[in-house]
Symmetry: C2
Subunit: 489 residues, 2 copies
């Protein structure tokens, strides 16, 4: 059943258009503080829009009204001839209130305040300044993202976030983040590993729009199929809980909670000025709502990859095929630790494997230690995969090998590509989900081959992991989410 | 106190020369099965010795006595004019017994049997063949490494292991591994991340020499300061326990135990044919002996890096300096979860930091969120580090930043290098241990810069980690080991 269908059948009636949708889809943007000086943030926000060819009008606003990157500049928002939907503010904190007033008179729908130096400093006068800005905006019907944040990245329309993400290519992953740095780290890491994003939003101090608002919007947004979030704390706990409960039933929600320890909580209060709440409360909330909790951005990437690129296996029984005995042992250990099952093959599978497997140095049990050597015999590899994937005791495949063995000569390299091709073919014909683990030393050459090969796996609908533990963990949590959803719907 | 001194003061009297030392230091090597055909294992073993310029005589042995890579070939070991210390066997299993007989008549000290297809197959006739070989060797005074393994890599003398490790550069890390694949994976990963090895040994089925023998030898070997091991099971449990108890008091011992789950145990029996033992027993043993247990080769690399490149902090109090608020929260969380302390700074430190820190978007508490922006102001960064490192409440520093922000222009790149230089200077002048975390998206460009920059940190005595959790875990386990050793000695 598709997510959209689920949404329309859910208890929350589907809205014609979500009120935040126009905020994520502006037709015109002004950058206040836009500059030709690459040492200024305003330069990068403006350049990001230019580079990504934003699908609408863009206006640089600065003190002397000078042009930026060939675009006509203005001294003031009110001087801009056309309407402005979206304003990015990158000027000192004390000048922000005046700009918000201008935004209100101009009929701007949303401001993204990049500027920091507000409530997160812990100083009374700065907290007051933030409240004052929020009040001006509320009265003027202007919504706020921030302050102290990186704003929105909406690749499809070329709405760039500080110009750090180079692509308009979009995909199923939405990301909501209190931290701008984490937005950058996660998005860059994700793009390299094969994630594509619907929308990202870094919202900082959340003086107006909070994680809960974005969570609701992403639940509604048909472009977003998987919701990831980095959260340090929320302002309205009860509303957050209610929304999370609804949203996690419709789409997978993957959350990294910052500030779960005493030291982390203190760091949160210096960072975005919110109350972090106790570890136990958050854990209980995540458990109860079917939210997937992760410990790091690396784990979040792994999980989002699984949800982006594979369907849910029918059960927890892994068929493991790989090259290397030690790695096979590790595969079995990690699967069982992660709550997956390394079940025994049917007699017929073993008999079939015995026919094609040399006696020396290989195993025909699960995990299968595939024919050894630098160059793998392709027909035997294909038959091995076919036998294991056809076994009714097996719900999905974990396939692993070491890249470094297979990059010395062009024949090695060709062999590696053949293995990828065989696996994607088997997956297509037999229909069971597959995850791949490509071990790499991450030497320069090995990493280059990893990245190339990874993309060929992804095109075949196979997520790729760096280690067996990462793969086992991702698949297990994927299954756990769908088990939860089945129970509650 | 140096490790050598500790050894000589320990309860085990130091031996003049350990009996295995000549096995690790052969003066002449023959490769049985050496071939000019790159599809044969014998080619790679021989080529490895040639490429690494082995410091002694090397002889190819094959059926027709043909030369290999310009070296004179022989049909039989006995035809070789000079003495042979070390023989690598890469021919089918059933031909091995005859070769062992030849080794005995030739006075060979040790054979490394690469060939597999023995007890690990679980077949009675193959297990018998292995026992028969062991018996011939025992009677002929020949020691065996293997079968079913990759043998020894001793970089200093150019004793290569399958030609996969390209360097004669050596270092403090010894590695003992039942699995040949894990030897390759760990060594390659380690070399990329800055580990250097004294000796590696992959010993497979352990029909003669077992992990315990190598453990004892590495304890004695002054070239080896840190002992890493991948173990699936041991043959003489009592002896292993006694040796481990002694060795872990002298040098850090880091062990990855394969086969801790039911599925892993089954995989072990197909791999090297040993009994894996229960999880609880191994955990208790490691705890009791002060052995550092790791969950993966990645974690082993992280630990070996810490022991190779940093001294032990005086306590568990981390001073964290980094760029990015979300990352600072994560740093605090991960430190506390790992059992480190993120202590409060002295008043003077905070006052000093306040003088140089802009109000906006940074924190002067621990963790310090250092001046933001793409280009960091170097004098302020240096002063920040100096203040934190001088604080008597701080035992060591964790310093973190994101690579990707700093690679767009040559000025960014220069700024990154300046930050490295400042940190290594501070470390040198103030003497407290430092670890660095360089976050990277691992895009091609970002990873290249990571590798370059990593080496500059390592030269300054600062181990580099990919993530904050990896760094916190490594430092915590390093401290735990030294705490244990202080208690028992």
């Amino acid at each position: 059943m598709s997510l959209n269908l689920l949404i329309s059948q859910g208890e929350t009636p589907i809205k014609e258009r979500h009120e935040l949708d126009e905020i994520f889809n502006p037709r015109s943007i002004a950058v206040v503080g836009a500059s030709s000086d690459p040492n200024k943030a305003g330069y990068h926000f403006f350049k990001g829009l230019v580079d990504l060819k934003f699908d609408g009008a863009i206006y640089p606003i600065n003190l002397d009204g000078s042009d930026v990157l060939g675009f006509k500049g203005y001294r003031n928002l009110r001087n801009v001839p056309g309407p402005i939907d979206y304003v990015i503010i990158a000027i000192p904190a004390h000048e922000v209130p005046k700009i918000i007033e201008d935004c209100a008179s101009k009929g701007v729908k949303v401001v993204h305040i990049f500027t920091s130096g507000f409530s997160e400093t812990g100083r009374a006068n700065r907290t007051k300044l933030e409240a004052q800005i929020a009040e001006i905006a509320r009265k003027g019907n202007v919504r706020i993202i921030g302050p102290n944040c990186m704003g929105i990245y909406h690749p499809k329309i070329g709405l760039s976030n500080f110009g750090v993400f180079p692509t308009k290519e979009s995909g199923p992953v939405g990301f909501i983040s209190q931290s701008g740095g984490n937005t950058g780290d996660f998005a860059r890491l994700g793009l390299v590993r094969g994630l594509r994003f619907s929308k990202l939003v870094s919202y900082g101090n959340a003086s107006d729009l909070d994680s809960t608002d974005f969570m609701e919007y992403f639940a509604w947004d048909s472009e977003t199929k998987i919701i990831c979030a980095y959260i340090e704390g929320v302002k309205d706990g009860r509303r957050f809980v209610n929304v999370l409960k609804e949203v996690a039933r419709l789409k997978p929600v993957i959350i990294l909670k910052g500030g779960l320890t005493e030291a982390g909580t203190r760091a949160v209060s210096s960072h975005t000025g919110v109350l972090a709440g106790s570890d136990a409360i958050w854990k209980a909330l995540f458990h109860q709502t079917g939210t997937i909790q992760v410990e790091s951005l690396r784990e979040m990437t792994d999980l989002a990859l699984a949800f982006s690129h594979m369907s849910c296996p029918k059960g927890r029984r892994a068929g493991i095929v790989g090259i290397g005995g030690g790695a096979s042992v590790a595969a079995a250990d990690f699967c069982e630790k992660a709550g997956l099952m390394v079940s025994r093959f049917m007699e017929g599978t073993i008999a079939g494997l015995e026919k094609i497997t040399p006696v020396a140095g290989t195993s025909v049990k699960n995990p299968v230690d595939s024919p050894v050597g630098r160059r793998v015999a392709v027909p035997e590899y294909e038959e091995t995969l076919r036998l294991v994937a056809s076994d009714p005791q097996i719900d999905f495949l974990i396939v692993h090998l070491t890249i470094d063995w297979r990059i010395r000569t062009s024949e090695d390299r060709k062999n590696l590509q053949d293995l990828t091709e065989v696996l994607t073919r088997i997956k297509k014909s037999l229909g069971k989900p597959v995850v791949a683990v490509l071990r790499s030393s991450q030497s320069f050459q090995s990493w280059q081959v990893f990245l190339e090969e990874q993309n060929r796996y992804l095109e075949g609908g196979i997520p790729v992991y760096l280690t067996l533990e990462d793969a086992a963990n991702a698949v297990s949590k994927l299954i756990q989410y769908y088990e939860f959803r089945e129970k509650v719907t």
